[in-house]
């Protein structure tokens, strides 16, 4: 097994999780997943081994997502393309959380965030990268990371509170 194949075996699960959170639909998530590995393979010579492969890989994924056109990786008109997809999402929510509708509303609200805010929120709440690392991955100042996180949470709160008023 080559090094690249080892990386694929090691990080596919986490990358799947990241792509599923970034994209509203499984189809878009899988597209992003495949494009990320394809890009990583193309640029494997540029990988600096002193750096974490995971953060390099996620940086590729995040930038592919952030810099893509409005409809790329964002084509779903409905949050869940099929009922099976919706059931899979509901099963993924922790058992102790009873309010499934709130998570569906959160999933919808996140999918409506602008891409540059969405990617910061997901990277931050992945709990695996510090603000400084996120700043390096996205090549933006740390202050901008904080600002986008703040704005994203404000937008999410507003959206969820408006939704609860309906």
């Amino acid at each position: 097994m080559t090094d690249f194949e080892k990386y694929v075996a090691l990080y596919s699960r986490d990358l799947t999780r990241f792509c599923m959170k970034l994209c509203a639909s499984e189809h878009d998530a899988e597209d992003l997943f495949q494009d990320t590995w394809a890009r990583a393979l193309d640029r494997i010579e540029q990988y600096d081994e002193t750096r974490s492969f995971k953060s390099w890989l996620f940086a590729i994924c995040a930038n592919l997502f952030k810099n893509s056109g409005k409809s790329k990786y964002n084509s779903a008109r409905h949050i869940f393309a099929t009922d099976e997809e919706k059931e899979r999402f509901m099963r993924s929510i922790p058992d102790e959380e009873k309010d499934i509708d709130a998570y569906i509303a959160l999933h919808t609200a996140i999918s409506e965030l602008p891409k540059k805010h969405r990617v910061v929120v997901i990277l931050f709440y992945f709990r695996e990268f510090s603000l400084r690392e996120i700043s390096g991955m996205l090549e933006i100042p740390e202050g901008t990371v904080k600002s986008r996180l703040n704005t994203a949470k404000k937008l999410l709160r507003r959206r969820l509170n408006d939704g609860s008023n309906d």
Binding site: P141, K153, L156, L160, D162
Partner: protein
């Protein structure tokens, strides 16, 4: 759903992002996007779109089938160069047109009927004796010598191989030689006026306003709840957007945050009094020629607001005034 607080949102976002998917994708170097399986809602939209296409196609078909006064169905005949028939006296019609063919007569009469209708519509003389290929004679005058008109109807296969437009000025001889126009083809379209006659007074039926989007529920303005303890929100707030283009040299070597503070027209600070709190953090996008600083804040009312962008060391980056109008 209960009102969303910051802590609750934090917790939900953590749970959401940490939730593991049931299965991981498998890297396929030759991946092609699978067709999207449409949900039932998308199916309904497809049905509506298909219905619309069908109705449009039917309308177009009916329009061309039955036509209207100004839209005589046009028959394209193989030979159309000879649009001026030979008169019975043997006088030439005037145009050097290729020989007639039987099929052209039908096309001639139909084209002539169409042109007559257009002439009637435009209010030109009814006593036209010219061929359809020639320019109409102005009242009381001769035709301009240099008038050229396109041949009509269109012929894809001119028998002579050369398309010659009619030369109306040279055909004036046809008039003096007692040229007999061919019988006018009766229009094949209904003679009802294409316009709808207005009903006379007393006959106007009231028009009920139609709801353009009957399927949407009527708009209900959001109910404002009283603010919870520790949380003050002004109902119906407007969001002001404040932007500035910063020279890249201002941020060269600087790694910290960019902040923004807003003052209203009376000099009152909006938001947190701690100017270095996260609330005042601005969004900065480093572009090739400049840095785009962007900040959004809720403002209590429409009007002028002054803004200042600064670094965490208090260094001024940009300032200005914006009128928030919506």
């Amino acid at each position: 759903m209960d009102r969303m607080t910051d802590d609750k949102l934090d917790m939900m976002l953590s749970n959401y992002c940490e939730a593991e998917p049931e299965k991981a994708f498998v890297y396929k170097p030759d991946h092609r996007r699978k067709p999207v399986i449409l949900s039932f809602a998308a199916g309904r939209r497809l049905t509506a779109a298909a219905g619309l296409v069908l109705v449009s196609a039917l309308s177009i078909a009916l329009y061309f089938l039955f036509g209207n006064k100004m839209n005589t169905p046009i028959v394209i005949s193989p030979s159309t160069q000879s649009t001026v028939p030979h008169n019975t006296d043997g006088a030439e019609a005037g145009s050097d047109s290729p020989s007639d063919s039987p099929d052209s007569t039908v096309a001639e009469t139909q084209a002539k009927g169409l042109i007559e209708m257009i002439a009637d519509f435009l209010g030109l003389s009814d006593e036209r004796t010219e061929s359809p290929t020639e320019a109409p004679t102005p009242p009381g005058g001769t035709r301009p010598a240099s008038a050229t008109v396109p041949t009509a109807p269109y012929s894809p296969e001119p028998t002579s191989g050369i398309v010659k437009p009619a030369v109306p000025s040279e055909s004036s001889g046809s008039e003096t030689q007692g040229y007999t126009p061919p019988p006018t083809a009766k229009p094949t379209v209904p003679v009802e006026p294409p316009w709808v006659e207005y009903p006379t007074e007393g006959e106007i039926e009231p028009i009920e306003p139609t709801d353009s989007e009957p399927w949407l529920p009527p708009y209900k303005p959001p109910e404002t709840e009283p603010p919870t303890e520790g949380e003050i929100e002004t109902p119906g707030c407007t969001v002001g957007v404040f932007r500035a283009k910063l020279d890249l040299s201002l941020l060269s070597g600087y790694d910290g945050g960019v902040y923004c503070k807003i003052y209203d027209s009376k000099g009152r600070l909006l938001g947190d009094s701690n100017l270095y709190s996260d609330e005042h953090l601005a969004d900065v996008e480093l572009l090739s020629k400049y840095a785009d600083a962007y900040y959004e804040a809720e403002v209590p009312e429409l009007g002028y607001y002054n803004y200042v962008f600064y670094t965490e060391e208090g260094r001024l980056l940009a300032q200005g005034q914006v009128y928030v109008d919506r």
